[in-house]
């Protein structure tokens, strides 16, 4: 547990030492801000529904950029060897890096809290969906971070890690839009696998254990896969 914290703290600090954090954060804020507010006044609704519905697609490009360096960079520089010859287990390394990335994404969301605050000045805002939305966003971020982490563990090339990460996250995001093309028998399965429906449930303010179980299992599966990759590559 202590080692997980040590690694997570170090990785989290690393984001802010390098320029990546600032670039990714400003990119995220510009893109979400622009997309959200460009239609906000046309619809004239005092809620964040459009903002949250943007998140899955934006996350599926932003999060792989955050996670791509986690393993790839270490493997490329060689510090991976230094890390693994210290008294830490594979699980601790994977979890530490995962928490760092999730924490970073969560902190990236903090400036967007100003949106509901501003909106509350111009209209009545229902706090339920807003709180649910942020909770869902953190779950979604955690799931995508685990995907990105897994992609990063596969290669020593950060660009490849980014592309694999995007592909995985994007697939999960658009899966429920592809239902139309699927045979009727497996529609419910595919719908369950896609991240969007679970996220939109939570972001409507409905906190259902099924959705939470979904995100937790995605995180578990991909951290476990990361563990297997680490184990096999030795």
């Amino acid at each position: 547990m202590k080692q997980i914290k040590n690694i997570a703290v170090k990785e989290f600090k690393d984001y802010f030492i390098s320029p990546i954090a600032y670039i990714v954060m400003s990119l995220f804020l510009i893109v979400t801000g622009w997309f959200f507010f460009s239609t906000f006044f046309i619809f004239g609704r005092a809620d964040l529904r459009d903002f949250f519905s943007l998140l899955p697609i934006i996350f599926s490009f932003i999060i792989p950029a955050i996670t791509m360096r986690l393993f790839s960079e270490e493997k490329n520089v060689g510090s991976y060897e230094t890390l693994l010859t210290m008294p830490v287990s594979f699980t601790e390394v994977a979890l530490g890096k995962f928490f760092a990335a999730t924490l970073f994404t969560a902190s990236m969301l903090i400036p967007t809290i100003s949106y509901p605050i501003f909106i509350s000045f111009i209209g009545e805002i229902d706090p339920g969906p807003v709180i649910g939305g942020y909770l869902g966003a953190v779950f979604l971020a955690a799931a995508y971070c685990s995907l990105g982490l897994f992609a990063s563990s596969l290669t020593r090339n950060q660009i490849i890690a980014f592309i694999i990460g995007c592909a995985l996250c994007f697939t999960l995001t658009i899966l429920d839009k592809l239902l139309f093309f699927m045979p009727a028998k497996i529609i419910s399965v595919i719908d369950y696998i896609g991240a969007n429906s679970h996220f939109s449930n939570i972001s409507k303010g409905i906190i259902d254990s099924r959705d939470i179980i979904y995100f937790v299992s995605v995180v578990f599966i991909f951290i476990f896969s990361t563990y297997i990759v680490m184990h096999e590559k030795n």
Partner: protein, 314 residues
């Protein structure tokens, strides 16, 4: 202390380490010699638990791989080849991180250890510098500080002096020697003089096999290799000197060598027997009016042994 039995490692089909067995006693400095690609790094990586062996066993103190890998890792300080570090961190932050991971939780203790290490490895002036800006020698020292953070009983250093300038090599070698008094050290190198100067024992590895494992003196004694006497004379003619030397014993092979200084004639006298001919040569030359400018038995015997053992069927 360290017991390695029948250690073998395959990379897919390529046999990198072939059935290596050896024991390393407490307090010993073992030099692992071998040409590039002989399997030195792979062996060390298996000892540190970074690679899993394809077969064979590693026992360190009473702990076995792979069950007690974490425990073993905490006993070992490891400096990988060319000291890979986190380039975006400051030296101090890096050491702080390492100390935490290695379980030095107490702030005071950590600070004390940093002071000791910065003395030992000469880090005090670079503590606040980013690692990316350090020269290779300095990085190597930070890596050494990393390896010695918890004052481990076993130090494993992979080519600690490669790519350094002669001054830095001497510094690192001094550090190794001074810590080697109480610690078990295994280090790999392909600089022979270094191994000879620092190690208690030398193991030569070639194509994944241990081809020799002994002290430097023993290796030299037991080798059937001829000894070479280097001789330079002043005031002598090449032909006269050569025939005089040849007359000492027919088993000697007198060869002309490039003069070490201007105005000298130099020879290499190869002796294939066990008898030491130096007294005879000296007495012979004493009879003449030549002056001896250089007279030595070659000390590079180890290099020859190394070349002989590792260049077969190359």
């Amino acid at each position: 202390m360290i017991e390695v039995k029948k250690l073998t490692k395959y990379y897919k089909d390529f046999l990198a380490v072939d059935n290596i067995s050896m024991t390393i006693r407490k307090g010993e400095i073992l030099g692992l010699l071998g040409p590039n690609g002989a399997g030195k790094t792979t062996t060390l990586r298996m000892l540190t638990g970074y690679f899993r062996p394809s077969s064979g066993s590693i026992k360190i103190k009473n702990f076995k791989m792979p069950e007690d890998t974490i425990k073993i890792k905490s006993l070992i300080g490891y400096l990988p080849e060319s000291a890979p570090l986190y380039h975006n961190m400051l030296v101090y932050d890096y050491l702080e991180y390492i100390a935490r991971i290695k379980g030095i939780d107490d702030k005071e203790k950590r600070y004390d250890r940093f002071l000791q290490l910065s003395d030992l490895c000469g880090l005090s002036s670079i503590m606040a510098k980013p690692i990316a800006n350090l020269s290779k020698g300095l990085k190597q020292r930070v890596g050494l500080a990393h390896a010695m953070m918890t004052d481990p009983e076993i130090l494993i250093l992979d080519e600690p002096t490669s790519g350094l300038d002669p001054n830095q090599i001497a510094e690192i070698r001094d550090i190794i020697k001074s810590i080697g008094k109480e610690k078990t050290i295994i280090f790999s190198t392909h600089i022979l003089s270094e191994a000879e100067a620092t190690c208690d024992r030398i193991a030569i590895i070639d194509k994944g096999k241990v081809v020799a494992d002994d002290t430097a003196t023993h290796l030299k004694q037991n080798s059937k290799h001829n000894s070479v006497i280097k001789l330079s004379l002043k005031g002598a003619l090449k032909e006269d000197a050569a025939s005089l030397l040849q007359a000492i014993d027919s088993s000697l092979d007198v060869k002309n060598a490039d003069p070490v200084e201007e105005g000298l004639v130099s020879f290499e006298i190869i002796n294939s027997g066990n008898r030491d001919f130096r007294p005879d040569i000296y007495l012979k030359i004493k009879e003449t009016d030549w002056i001896i400018a250089q007279f030595s038995k070659e000390s590079q015997a180890l290099e020859k042994i190394f070349r002989e053992l590792t260049s077969k069927e190359a």
